[in-house]
C-alpha cells in the first residue's frame, strides 16, 4: 500500500472541471512534484488534500486511513502540513508566535490551566519553544525571532511559512510553489532545504512548482497535469520528454 494515495479525485465548479479524476500515489520518503501550466489544477489538488474544498468525488488515503471526510483542522493533526502559494502568515504577530502556532497540534493544555499558567503550561511552552528553535536553526531564521511579519521582505516570509509548517513536525508536507517570488540564490537555498527535509528529517514532500531547475534538482518523480487531468508521470527527464507535456507547454 502506498503512503499517500488519491483515487479518482475530482473537483468541479459547475461545469468547470478544475480537477478531473486524478489518481496518484506518494511513496514514503520521496519528493514528488506536480507541474503543469497555469490553471491546470495543481493548487486545487492541494486545497482538496487540506480540505479547504470538499472533493466532488474521489477518495484520499493517508497511511491507509481514509481522510476524505476529515475536518480541515484534523489534517494537520494527522501529520500533513502545507504552505500556501500567496503566503498565509499571521501578519500582525511576531515570527516566533507564527511558528508557535505551528506547534498547535502538539499542545495538550486546557483552558483553565492556561488562565492560571500552571507549571504544566509553562513546561509545555518551553518544550514548544525548544522545538521551534531547532526549526529556526535549520532554516537560518535567527535574525527575525521577534520581528513582526508585516515588516519582513517576501523572501523571508516564504521561508517562515516553510518553518511554520515544519514546526508541526509533519510526516507529509505540501509545498505550494516554494520558489515563487524568490531570486536565484534563495531558490538554491530552498532546494537544499527541501532535500534536507527528506534526508535529515525524513519528511515526505509533495510539491507544486513551476521552476524546472528546482524540480529537476530535488524531485524523485514528477506528475504533469493539464486541464485537471494527468498527462504524464515518471522521472523528471521522462516527463519533460513526454509528447503531451511538450504539447501542453509549447502548444504544438
Amino acid at each position: 500500500m502506498s503512503y499517500f494515495r488519491a483515487e479518482n479525485l475530482s473537483l468541479h465548479f459547475g461545469g468547470l472541471k478544475a480537477v478531473d479524476s486524478v489518481s496518484f500515489a506518494v511513496e514514503k520518503g520521496e519528493i514528488l512534484s506536480i507541474i503543469g501550466p497555469n490553471g491546470a489544477g495543481k493548487s486545487s489538488i492541494f486545497n482538496l488534500i487540506s480540505r479547504i474544498y470538499p472533493p466532488t468525488s474521489g477518495r484520499i488515503f493517508f497511511e491507509d486511513q481514509d481522510i476524505t471526510n476529515q475536518p480541515a483542522y484534523d489534517i494537520a493533526g494527522l501529520g500533513i502540513a502545507r504552505t500556501f502559494q500567496n503566503i498565509e502568515l499571521f501578519e500582525n504577530a511576531t515570527m516566533l508566535s507564527n511558528l508557535l502556532v505551528g506547534r498547535h497540534r502538539h499542545s495538550t493544555t486546557r483552558l483553565w490551566q492556561e488562565l492560571l499558567f500552571l507549571p504544566s503550561v509553562r513546561a509545555g511552552e518551553k518544550m514548544h519553544r525548544r522545538r521551534v528553535e531547532q526549526v529556526i536553526e535549520f532554516l537560518d531564521l535567527e535574525a527575525y525571532r521577534d520581528k513582526l511579519i508585516s515588516g519582513l521582505p517576501y523572501g523571508v516570509r516564504k521561508v517562515i511559512e516553510l518553518a511554520r509548517a515544519l514546526c508541526s513536525e509533519p510526516k507529509l508536507i505540501l509545498l505550494d510553489e516554494p520558489s515563487s517570488g524568490l531570486n536565484v540564490e534563495e531558490t538554491e537555498d530552498m532546494s537544499f532545504w527541501i532535500r534536507d527535509m527528506k534526508t535529515e528529517l525524513g519528511i515526505t514532500v509533495l510539491m507544486v512548482e513551476h521552476d524546472m531547475t528546482l524540480v529537476n534538482r530535488v524531485s524523485d518523480r514528477v506528475i504533469a497535469l493539464n486541464y485537471g487531468r494527468v498527462l504524464a508521470m515518471g522521472s523528471p527527464s521522462e516527463v519533460q520528454r513526454h509528447p503531451d507535456v511538450v504539447a501542453a507547454y509549447l502548444g504544438a
Binding site: 483542522y73 502568515l89 497540534r105 493544555t109 503550561v121 518551553k126 517576501y154
Partner: protein
C-alpha cells in the same frame, strides 16, 4: 535604549521582561492603592467606573482585538451579568457565589451566541450581535416576573463575609481593582499560551490557522464565551456600583461606548483597553464642564474683544444651548471615532508607543517607522 539579552526560553515567556517594568508598574500600583486616601470621593468613584469599563474593554479586546470578531452586543452581556446578580441577591445568595454565577451564565450565553456567529464575518457579524443585544433588551423589559420589566431592579448593598461594602467606599474600589487586575493577569496568561495564539491566528488568517490544526469554530466559540464571561463579571460590579438597574441602561449606545474603549485605547493590546476606559470615563466630566463653564468663558472672551453686554449675553445663551443639547454625547462619540480612525488607527496606546520610541531613538526617530505599508499579494486569498 535598552537591549535585552535573552539567555533562556523563560525570557520569552515571562510577563515582566525587565526591571523597568517593576518600577513603572510598582509606581502605578502604589498610586492606585493610596488613591482613596488622596483623591476626592468623586474621583475614586470615577476610578471604579474605569475598572468596570476596562474589564469590559479587556473582554471585548479578546473577542475583537485578538480573535478579530466584531461585536456590538456587549451591553447585553453586561446586562445579563448585572441581572443575574440582582436576581440571585433576592434569595440571599452570598456575593462570591452570584459573582461567579454571573460570569458563568454570561459565558454560556456568549458561547450560544458564538455558534450562530460562526458562519458570519465582518459587517454581518456586527448586525447579528446588535440583534442579539436588542433581543436581550426586550426580554429584560418583558420578563417581568424575573426582571421587574421597565420598573428596574434595586440592587442591595454588597456584603462580603458579613461586612457591608458600600458602593462609594474604598473597599468597593479595592474589590474592583483586584478583579480587574486578576482579569488582566488571566488574559495575559491566556495570550502567551496555545489558546491565545490560536485566537490571533484566526484573526490574521483563518485558512492558515485551520491548516495548522486550529479548530477555528471551537476557538471562535471559546473566544465568545471568555469575552462574555469577563463582561458578565463586570456586569455584577456595575449593578452594585449603580445600585439600580433597568433595561434602558443597556442600550446600543452602551455597546458603542465599549467599542470606543477598544478603538480609542488601541486595538491589539490590553493597555489599550485600560487607556480607552480612562478616556471614556473622562468624557462625562468634560461634558459637565462644557455645560457649566464654557458659555461664561466664551462670552468673557467676546466681551474682552469689545462685544457689548447684549451680544455677549446672546453668545452666552447660544453656547449654553449647544453645550446642553440632547444627543451632544453621541455626536462627540462620533467625532472622536472618526478622528481616531483617520489619524491614529492604533489608538492612544499606539500614540504612547510612538512617543516612547521617539525618546528612545532621539534624535534618530523617523516618522515613517509606523507608516502602514500596502501589500498587493493578498488578492487571491482562500477563504
Amino acid at each position: 535604549m535598552r537591549f535585552l539579552f535573552k539567555t533562556d526560553y523563560e525570557d520569552d515567556i515571562k510577563l515582566i521582561p525587565h526591571s523597568g517594568y517593576v518600577v513603572s508598574y510598582g509606581i502605578l500600583l502604589a498610586f492606585l492603592l493610596i488613591a482613596p486616601f488622596v483623591l476626592s470621593s468623586y474621583l475614586v468613584s470615577q476610578l471604579v467606573f474605569v475598572c468596570i469599563y476596562a474589564m469590559v474593554g479587556v473582554g471585548l479586546m479578546i473577542l475583537t482585538g485578538f480573535t478579530g470578531q466584531a461585536s456590538l452586543g456587549h451591553a447585553a452581556f453586561l446586562a445579563i451579568g448585572a441581572y443575574t446578580a440582582a436576581y440571585l441577591q433576592q434569595y440571599n445568595v452570598p456575593f462570591p457565589v452570584y459573582f461567579l454565577a454571573g460570569g458563568l451564565l454570561t459565558g454560556v450565553v456568549g458561547a450560544l451566541v458564538g455558534f450562530p456567529a460562526l458562519r458570519l464575518t465582518g459587517i454581518y457579524l456586527v448586525i447579528a450581535t446588535i440583534s442579539f443585544a436588542f433581543i436581550v433588551e426586550e426580554v429584560l423589559a418583558r420578563w417581568e416576573s424575573v426582571t421587574h420589566g421597565n420598573e428596574g431592579m434595586r440592587v442591595k448593598t454588597l456584603s462580603l463575609f458579613g461586612q457591608a461594602v458600600p458602593q462609594n467606599g474604598p473597599t468597593f474600589y479595592y474589590l474592583c481593582l483586584a478583579v480587574l487586575t486578576l482579569t488582566i493577569v488571566g488574559t495575559l496568561n491566556l495570550l502567551r499560551s496555545p489558546t491565545g495564539r490560536a485566537f490571533v491566528a484566526i484573526r490574521d488568517s483563518e485558512t492558515a490557522a485551520r491548516s495548522m490544526g486550529v479548530n477555528v469554530s471551537l476557538y471562535k466559540v471559546k473566544s465568545f464565551a471568555i469575552s462574555a464571561a469577563i463582561t458578565g463579571l463586570a456586569g455584577v460590579l456595575f449593578a452594585h456600583k449603580l445600585s439600580f438597574i433597568s433595561p434602558e441602561m443597556f442600550t446600543l449606545q452602551l455597546s458603542i461606548e465599549f467599542i470606543i474603549v477598544i478603538l480609542i485605547g488601541g486595538a491589539f493590546s490590553l493597555h489599550g483597553a485600560v487607556l480607552g476606559a480612562i478616556f471614556l470615563v473622562m468624557i462625562d466630566p468634560f461634558l459637565t464642564y462644557l455645560k457649566d463653564d464654557l458659555p461664561g468663558i466664551i462670552a468673557g472672551i467676546a466681551a474682552t474683544f469689545g462685544a457689548d453686554s447684549i451680544t455677549a449675553g446672546k453668545i452666552h445663551g447660544n453656547v449654553a444651548a449647544v453645550a446642553s443639547a440632547n444627543g451632544l454625547k453621541g455626536a462627540i462619540y462620533g467625532v472622536i471615532i472618526v478622528l481616531f480612525v483617520l489619524f491614529e488607527p492604533l489608538g492612544l496606546y499606539g500614540r504612547w508607543l510612538k512617543i516612547k520610541l521617539f525618546f528612545q531613538l532621539f534624535p534618530l526617530y523617523k516618522r515613517a517607522t509606523f507608516k502602514r505599508q500596502k501589500i498587493y499579494v493578498k488578492s487571491e486569498r482562500n477563504r
